[in-house]
């Protein structure tokens, strides 16, 4: 199971906890959208290869 965690803003403590539980034992990647110029092309390369993407707040 390949999982991609995408962050739209700085994760809260609760978000971090959920990410930790959901990610445990899985093949996990992450991507931070909360930057000035996100590399959307690189994001999609990841989205297209994982089994599930979660866009956290």
């Amino acid at each position: 199971m390949k999982l991609l965690n995408v962050y739209r803003s700085e994760p809260s403590d609760d978000t971090k906890k959920l990410v930790e539980i959901v990610s445990e034992g899985r093949d996990v990647e992450s991507f931070n959208l909360n930057v000035e110029s996100p590399d959307y092309d690189a994001l999609l390369d990841k989205v297209f290869t994982v089994d599930q993407t979660i866009c956290w707040w």
Binding site: V6, R8, L33, Y40, D41, V47, F48, T53
Partner: protein, 104 residues
Amino acid sequence: MAKSLGIFVTSPQNMRHVMGITKAAKAKGSKVKVFFSWYGVHLTKCKEFPALCELADDVSICVDSYKNAGYDPADIPQGLEAKKMATQSQHGEIIEDYECYLTL
């Protein structure tokens, strides 16, 4: 091979991401559907919204959300087809018919 992509938009803050991801996905040859619900419908008033409607394969909004956000359902956002003032079933279509799913 690019996969098809559905984007469910509920935040009024992410138009740059909606546009950026849609542009990048179309450049890769993906089919893209975007559905705006709740306060996400405020983004229909962004100047980029008509361009998004041109770029994506399918753009729709939740008409109940649009009304509840204070807009007149007769005031169809520029670029949107009238029949795309729709219901939550659009969200179901994204999940059932598209290979990848994003929430913004």
